[in-house]
Symmetry: D2
Subunit: 335 residues, 4 copies
């Protein structure tokens, strides 16, 4: 079988290697991968910002068919269609220091024709999605779900501010609309704002035309502010996000696109009783809940581009351009 | 002005009396009532089961237009369209012994041409509803909202079991569908089940044909059980509800239609880690949230019959027949 | 090695058998048991009320020293002092249908000289307790912890009603006093009430002298009622518990000592907005938290009697007498 | 009567004026103030950083005896000993834009011989405290309570990091110890660290000797980090706080002592799944709960200095020196 491995730092360290198809050990499941998806974290790993295992197979996200199960595995059988979990040992409950091991970083990931995954790190594929669509869920969709529902307690009629049109952002838009929330979406492109509106966004703000966009968010909410802000930026956005959130509201930090140290004005956090919460994807119980919601509501992930397995390097090159709207997928096996 | 008053116990104690239009005192608002709605509790008050004030004006539920505001009232002005709050002194937070005063029981209610309501007991009418529709929300819709969202934490893709087709039940169905939950609905009438499906119910169970309906609920949920049961009955239903709820699930008790003492099998509560929670309507912060959700989602309350103000006694007579599907409304002012 | 096994139903089905010391398989840990403790559930298993595995080794509760670890086990090494978890596959988060496997029922338990336990079902022994004391924690103490803290959200200054002086009850008393809660304790014995007061109980009520004890609880709380009731009874107590809890309060059902079907008056659940919640012990993350609290506070479990390993049958005979105050322990290895 | 008023900006704008004793209007209570207490916010108001009413009577915090109640007031009678609420219209539930009016800022405060307070802004004085002690609770103690219990969900055995020895910090120490939490306390003074240890602090860290104190916190917690950080600083402390908190932990921001814009490293918020939450004091339901806890546990506020009413200006001068340990109180009426 073939698998991509990261032998060092940078895009040139990505190599497509041959390897024998492994045999699942105790508690392991062998998955024949059909599709995999890239996330911003994969760029961070490529850049050497994470303590990844040497020669790691990239990508936390993928979906495929169970080829074989190892000893001691119950609950899964060969032939079932599954997705991998970002954190294969985080079953439920709060994030803690015991559940931080992740696919595509500490453990080999899904950018391979076959992947060995702990049985505790699999969830059945939603029946209404194909493999490429399902491959987009493990990191981006679950992050949005955790931000909105598990930590945000989103209810119908609340207002969500979504930043941009990347993977997490578009899932945040779609998942918020599942509950009839109002969604305000930021983008630097009017064309992308139009696409977002077609997906249900109620208000679009072009941050290039309106760099002080917190005022526009207040306008759109009767001066009150958004209930939940899904913050993907950091340095360039956090101060505006603080000006956009309602008293007692919540900013869910899901990314650091724009720099690592943000000058944060502390008084609005304090005086507006704001909660700022870092979101690290989510746990398997929520991933199951998300998969059930996808099926119940018929939610369709938005895939911007599909790359061939041999061309996976192009996905790494494409993601930082920020041209995409939704997810980039690598089709590992198009059969 | 004219108002209905309850001068004793039983339907013959209902009298339509004349009274001067009152002047709002400090913190009070005078509302010209356009429509009012009856709830099961109003039958209990009629029967003398509640410690109501003598000669109380019935009905917690109503909507109208502000005629005048008393001294010290801020946030409301004459001409605004409003609904009354079931508990006018319960602003937010948990139920406690300090927020139990209710309209139509301890305080005069809405079955009158003019009502004096504490300013803390008003919420703006949803713009998308007319007065008759808005009049149905204060008790039944807010009860369903509290059960599903505030206490139940309902998320997309979960399963809700709804019992019957009365006011709370139909709101529970509609509000659960707002979040793309799956709804299983019980009724004794196939015709009502069809109407419920037209409103979005995913599964209908006729409890006359299937008296051991917990088995049918398990069948419909892959053996797992419902996440939330909205329990309206009591004696006749609680044991079946306990058999219908998933491990770790929740039964929200919103009514006692079928008797006051239920023989409850304790082991399933214990061994299935079930939470059984009595729901007393809800607070004003949630009523505002509900009103926002109604507007955002375009939810339309289901009104079964409308009665003339002079004929309000007929609403008391109709409700116990159980023939209705949704709410019974008294149109106080049809202009 | 020797182990007790339950070969059928009833006390005569308990047999002390010889068996080879097992070798831990993948993910398993071999524990040399020093002490084990009995709980009411063990009587239910003895009576055939549970779907236990044939020939099960009884007792969910025990503590000992790791003798060996199987392949794939990380985080534990030979020589460490540990306690078993009631549910060895419930790491954290809500109870659900996937985490119900328990020691001493579906899996062999701790009433043996050596026990094989999944590594996910062990927690380090508190340093401040000996093995007999630690053996009392897995079921009774964790149940009380879950009821008071995880589900009850107990805070200093609240009032807890504790029923009786069995294992869960005495832990509920001690754990509630850790947070400076007020504790009202019921017992049928004045001598036991005195002992409970010595442990910190603020108010004692003799339910034999005061069978309508809900009135006494209201008296002791200024008419308001208790914030949390730890309900161990069922048929004989639930109605009184409902009369003892405050508006918006919580009854945690931790046992069914007095009968399986309780005639429950539904109106007080509904009209007082009461939550009635079945508690099934708890998860490993909470067990770790409990162990940390025991060490931090110097809490000492109350052991009523200690039995020799060979005499474990006497623990089964003693428990139903209800004479005990606190826990009954079997000392497996007194060395 | 005499009252202090702030007629402009700066300490010279503080004037001790004479005024007639007011008569309580509808819903108001006249309190004969016995003691009042200063908080850091009062310095911000003095400096003109808040939108205070012109000529405001300073101080949110005070305790006294009810002299008279206005029309429409129930639940209070003359002669009762009470404390004022920081937010007299925040009864319970989340912070929102409707409950932000505060004493000593938008409304006249407690630095007067008589104060008019809305009846919704009073709580009974704990029986175990004198008036000076009770006067310290409304802002500082309730802030610590909200941070630890309402938002932090503190449980016995958890670890709390407290910064400094000001009013909120010392209450955070004392309130955390009420639940047998472990407390790590920072100070720049070894003498203050010794005093904190005498009050129960488990670990003291001198931040002058150990400016990179996050490493010391990790050392003291087995590398794990604190469960809750009570952050009083801002610019100088936030980065260290982020390095001191456990994965999934919480930083409660209760003050901005050291500058208004903090350079916040976003990655640790994100990758450690940290929640950073601004705390604005708290609501009346929690203030009642806190008062009950104070009585139940016998907690004694730490008063560093007491000033005469005529000398209240000295309290404003003393607070910024940072020499104090605990609270500064103005004794309005020493009789």
């Amino acid at each position: 079988m073939r698998r991509w491995q990261l032998a060092g730092v940078g895009i040139n360290a990505l190599k497509l290697n041959a390897a024998p198809v492994p045999t699942p050990g105790h508690g392991e499941v062998l998955v024949r991968v059909k599709a995999a998806a890239i996330n911003a974290r994969d760029l961070g790993i490529l850049a050497g910002h994470y303590p990844n295992k040497p020669g790691v197979v990239p990508f936390s996200d993928g979906a495929g068919i169970i080829e074989a199960v190892g000893p001691g595995v119950s609950g899964f059988v060969a032939g079932e269609a599954v997705m991998g979990c970002f954190y294969p040992f985080w079953e439920s409950g709060p994030a803690d220091e015991n559940n931080r091991t992740s696919l595509g970083c500490n453990l080999d990931g899904m950018l391979a024709e076959y992947a060995l995954v702990p049985a505790s790190g699999l969830v059945l594929k939603p029946a209404t999605l194909d493999f490429a669509e399902a491959a987009t869920l493990p990191c981006a969709a679950l992050t949005a779900w955790t931000a909105l529902y598990t930590e945000g307690g989103l209810r119908p009629g609340q207002t969500v501010l979504v930043q941009g049109t990347g993977g997490v952002a578009i899932f945040a838009l779609q998942l918020a609309k599942l509950s009839h929330a109002r969604v305000i979406l930021l983008s630097g492109s009017d064309a992308k704002l139009e696409r977002a509106k077609a997906l249900g966004a109620d208000v679009g703000i072009n941050y290039r035309e309106t760099p002080e966009w917190s005022a526009a968010v207040l306008d759109a909410t009767g001066g009150k502010g958004a209930d939940i802000v899904v913050e993907v930026g950091g340095q360039d956005t956090l101060a505006q996000s603080l000006g956009s959130v309602r008293v007692g509201g919540r900013i869910s930090v899901v990314g650091v696109l724009s720099g690592l140290v943000a000058p944060v004005p502390v008084p609005p956090i304090l005086f507006r009783h704001v909660t700022l919460s870092g979101i690290t994807v989510g746990h398997r119980a929520d991933f199951r809940a998300l998969a059930a919601a996808v099926d119940a509501a018929g939610l369709k992930p938005v895939i911007d581009r599909r790359f061939a397995f041999e061309d996976a390097v192009s996905a790494f090159a494409e993601l930082p351009t920020g041209k995409h709207f939704g997810k980039l997928v690598v089709e590992v096996d198009r059969s």
